[in-house]
Each structure stands twice: as structure tokens, then as C-alpha cells.
């Protein structure tokens, strides 16, 4: 479940920001983590909201990218759950269905953005880097 980059024992890796991605789409996970690696960002991948909730958030957590359509708990519910815990983690929501009410729900849950699939990976990368810069 973890990418190789996480196991790098390089001390520098300890200072790199971490981006969490929760999405069942392996292809997307792969390409995103490869691209983000190039920008000195560590990616941790999860296939479900539950998997994500079972992990320990690190202080270097910079951003969460989450797909709406997940098994069991959906991406927006996950975001609402995170908010209810009092955590502030800038979150970008992805969705493969272009549903306006879904977008509104995500934004009401304080998502910083809602992106419809398919999207240009570079747009997402730029957004993520922007979030990291602002942190």
C-alpha cells in the first residue's frame, strides 16, 4: 500500500511534505505519486476511507486528495469526519460523476477544490504544490 518512496531512509525524506491520496484507481495513484515524487513530495496511498483513517497522520501532512466514490464511506463523508475530529487538512476532492450537488456538498465540507475526472494531471499537481507552498 505504501510507495517505495516512503521507505527511503534518506534523512531528507523526513522533511518532505506528505500528500495523502485516497482513490481506488491504481493507474491514477501511480501516475500522481510518480509526478509528485519529482517535486519532492511524499505520497501515501489508500484505497478506502477506512484505510486512511487507520493511519497516523504526520505533522508533515500537507494535503489530502480524495475520490468521492469509495467503497463504504465516501470521500465527502471522510472529509466531514476529518472536520468533526477538529483536524484541518487541506483537501482536494476528485469525482468521476459530474454531479453539482456532490460538488456543493464537498465545498460545504470545506474542500479547497473539487475536480471532475478526467482532468489534466498537471492541473492537480499545480494545485497540490500551491497548497504545500501556502502551508
Amino acid at each position: 500500500m505504501f510507495t517505495g518512496s516512503l521507505m527511503v531512509s534518506n534523512i531528507k525524506a523526513l522533511e518532505k511534505p506528505i500528500v495523502y491520496i485516497v482513490d481506488g484507481d491504481h493507474k491514477l495513484l501511480d501516475s500522481l505519486s510518480k509526478l509528485l515524487c519529482l517535486h519532492d513530495v511524499i505520497v501515501e496511498e489508500f484505497e478506502s476511507a477506512e484505510d486512511f483513517l487507520n493511519t497516523k497522520l504526520r505533522t508533515r501532512a500537507a494535503c489530502l486528495i480524495v475520490e468521492v466514490n469509495l467503497p463504504n464511506m465516501d470521500g465527502i463523508e471522510l472529509l466531514e469526519h476529518i472536520n468533526s475530529l477538529g483536524l484541518r487538512l487541506p483537501t482536494i476532492v476528485l469525482s468521476s460523476s459530474s454531479d453539482v450537488s456532490e460538488a456543493v456538498r464537498a465545498m460545504q465540507a470545506d474542500a479547497i477544490d473539487f475536480i471532475e475526472k478526467p482532468f489534466l494531471v498537471n492541473t492537480l499537481i499545480e494545485k497540490v504544490l500551491h497548497v504545500i507552498e501556502q502551508a
Binding site: S98, V100, A103, V104, M107, D113, E116
Partner: protein
């Protein structure tokens, strides 16, 4: 100084409905009338913005229903102009031409809700009630900030200095040394600060000051 709690009576909020479709204005107006919400209808954003800038109503009390696609000025553009003018009323978008990017943009700019036509009446009513509650809370908050700021402004510069030191957790003794004053003088100033701010304890003083400081 004891009874300085503001006895502000809030006037009934106004729901502003902006839509270029007369049928919508009629039906929404009737719906709002039926549940006793005062409302005003505008046939486009320009008319509303003119009314707003001429202050034909209480500028902060109520909420705004905005259509997106309208002649001259779009709902989104109207939202931006209102923001520039310092409008704090919650905005609910009601549109028949909603797409995800527009909805996201509207929400990013601070809209509280984005409803697609056709909608169930109850959905609209619930959103309006929620928005009005948020607006009332916001107004109360503003009121508190204003009152406290007025109190803060009534302090002398020495008192302000001592207030800051006290709130940052310094003991009288330490403040006395820092300001080259006697401890007794600090105590007197401190008592004046408490009296002017209308508080009885240090904890209360800190709370009042924190509540009035701008939040993000």
C-alpha cells in the same frame, strides 16, 4: 457599567431574490410570503446592486437568492461585486444552468448553497433558514466586536499598554518593572481597565479581548 449588555433588537431579516425569470420571482416570493419571511424581488442583478449601493435596506441583515444566468450582470459577477462592497449576507445560488465548475467557483467565493432548478420548496426553505441563522450569528458576533472595540478605544494609552501586558500573562510585579512604575500604580490602572471593559475577572478580560480580535 454593570448593565452594558447591548439590548439590540434585531429587525426581521430580508430575503433578496434576484432572478430574471418573472415566474420564478413570483413563485419564490409567494413561497416566502407563505412562511412569513419578508422578501424583495429584483428582476436582475443590476437593479439589486443599485438598490444595495443606495442602501435602500439594512445591508447586512438577511440573505440573497441569486440566479446565475441573467442579462447584463451574471450571478457570479454580482457575488464578486457584493463582496467588494463588503456585503456579509449569505448568498444562495438558485440556477437552472448549474455545472460543476460554476458551482465550485461560487462556493469558493463564499456562497453557502447552490441549488439547482427545479428544486423542492422545502430544500429552498431549509437553506434560507440556515443562511438566516448564520447571518444572525454573524451580526451578533460583529456587534460584540464593535462594543468591545469601543471599550478598547476608551482606554488611555497607558491602560492599553497594561491591558496588553496583563492579557499576555505578565504579573503586576513584572509589568511594574518593565514600565518603571510602582506595583501600586499598575494595580490602579489595572482596576480601571477592568472597570472600563466591564469585566470582573482576569479570565473574563482575556476572553473579551480574544473574542474581539479578528479571526480568520
Amino acid at each position: 457599567m454593570q448593565n452594558n449588555q447591548t439590548k439590540h433588537v434585531y429587525s426581521p431579516p430580508m430575503v433578496h431574490v434576484v432572478d430574471d425569470d418573472e415566474a420564478v420571482l413570483d413563485s419564490v416570493g409567494m413561497l416566502l410570503d407563505s412562511i412569513g419571511l419578508t422578501n424583495t424581488c429584483y428582476k436582475d442583478a443590476k437593479v439589486f446592486l443599485d438598490a444595495y449601493s443606495e442602501a435602500e435596506f439594512d445591508k447586512q441583515n438577511g440573505c440573497i437568492l441569486l440566479d446565475i444566468r441573467m442579462p447584463f450582470i451574471s450571478g457570479i459577477e454580482c457575488q464578486h461585486r457584493l463582496e467588494e462592497m463588503g456585503c456579509r449576507m449569505p448568498i444562495i445560488f438558485v440556477t437552472g444552468h448549474g455545472d460543476v465548475p460554476t458551482a465550485v467557483e461560487a462556493m469558493k467565493s463564499g456562497a453557502v448553497e447552490f441549488i439547482q432548478k427545479p428544486f423542492r420548496e422545502q430544500v429552498l426553505i431549509d437553506s434560507i433558514q440556515k443562511a438566516l441563522q448564520a447571518n444572525l450569528k454573524d451580526q451578533k458576533q460583529l456587534e460584540i466586536i464593535k462594543t468591545t472595540q469601543a471599550k478598547l478605544a476608551s482606554l488611555t494609552s497607558r491602560e492599553t499598554q497594561i491591558l496588553e501586558a496583563v492579557v499576555s500573562g505578565k504579573a503586576n510585579k513584572v509589568i511594574a518593572i518593565d514600565l518603571h512604575l510602582s506595583q501600586r500604580t499598575i494595580e490602579i490602572h489595572r482596576a480601571h481597565v477592568m472597570e472600563k471593559m466591564g469585566v470582573k475577572s482576569l479570565a473574563e478580560l482575556v476572553k473579551v479581548v480574544i473574542d474581539a480580535s479578528p479571526t480568520d
